[in-house]
């Protein structure tokens, strides 16, 4: 691929049932580009976890994807409450999700650690009261 490709998707924060729509679209786009299935899966899972987080905690946001010739860059931006203690948020099992989210199969405190696990690079930039931007990169 000579030039980078960009995709941008709004993440609707109003409806938990529709959470994951952006990740599904990205997954299909990456398939059409002919990327290998393991790379696509890593990107999809990391982005899906991020998208779920945006819906649970931040009432949605924007997902920006860039595909270069060697990596996929995922940027998730929201104007949610921000993360007060990032180190704590990165611990497996730590969650501030409300109980009703757990009954939906999420909120186990695995989202952020999982995003880190499936990507080669992850950075969290967050200001309490203003929002969070998460940047992830997957090399291929």
């Amino acid at each position: 691929m000579a030039e980078s490709l960009y995709f941008e998707y709004p993440v609707d924060g109003e409806n938990f049932a529709s959470a994951g729509q952006a990740s599904t679209r990205v997954k299909r786009n990456l398939r059409e580009l002919g990327l290998d299935s393991e790379t696509i899966r890593r990107v999809s899972i990391a982005m899906y976890e991020g998208e779920i987080n945006m819906v649970i905690h931040a009432r949605g946001g924007v997902a920006k994807i860039e595909v270069t010739d060697s990596q996929i860059i995922i940027i998730l931006e929201d104007k949610g409450p921000g993360i007060a203690n990032i180190e704590q948020a990165m611990q497996e099992g730590f969650s501030t999700a409300p109980d009703d989210v757990r009954s939906l199969g999420f909120g186990a405190g695995m989202g952020l650690p999982n995003m880190k696990r499936y990507t080669d690079y992850m950075n969290i930039d967050s200001v309490v009261g203003e929002g969070t931007t998460i940047t992830m990169k997957v090399n291929y």
Binding site: F16, A17, S18, A19, G20, S23, T24, K27, S37, R41, S44, I45, Y48, E49, I52, L104, G105, F106, G107, A108, G109, M110, G111, P113, N114, R117
Partner: protein, 118 residues
């Protein structure tokens, strides 16, 4: 075994994906916690679950799974079935409980390890 074998072993009803019943399955997992599925599952093609919402189908899709079995006779909504059909995922609904359903499949040779990365 094939998806059809799973259907027969679990007395399950096919909700969608009838055309894919001959697909081969080598491993499966069972969980109601989608966070755990996303964290720990690798190369398992079937998800057995008692959780019923659209995120089950999306989780299966992200994990490249090809079949979801709802236990305890749970039936997905038409929207969930449509989402699964779009993603090429077979949905089965079985009257068995989770423990029993997993046990039947396991004792018939369907294990939990992925073929490639275990």
């Amino acid at each position: 075994m094939t998806i059809k074998d799973i259907k027969n072993l679990l007395d399950a009803e096919v909700v969608c994906g009838e055309e894919s019943l001959d697909k081969e399955i080598h491993s499966a997992c069972g969980s109601d916690m989608m966070s755990d599925v996303l964290a720990y599952v690798k190369n398992q093609a079937v998800l057995l679950t008692g959780l019923l919402n659209a995120q089950v189908i999306r989780t299966a899709e992200m994990m490249d799974m090809i079949c979801v079995v709802f236990v305890r006779n749970k039936k997905p909504t038409p929207e969930m079935a449509e989402l699964a059909a779009e993603s090429g995922i077979v949905i089965l609904s079985s009257p068995k409980r989770m423990y029993e359903a997993c046990g039947i499949l396991y004792s018939n040779g369907l294990r939990g390890e992925g073929e490639i990365n275990g």
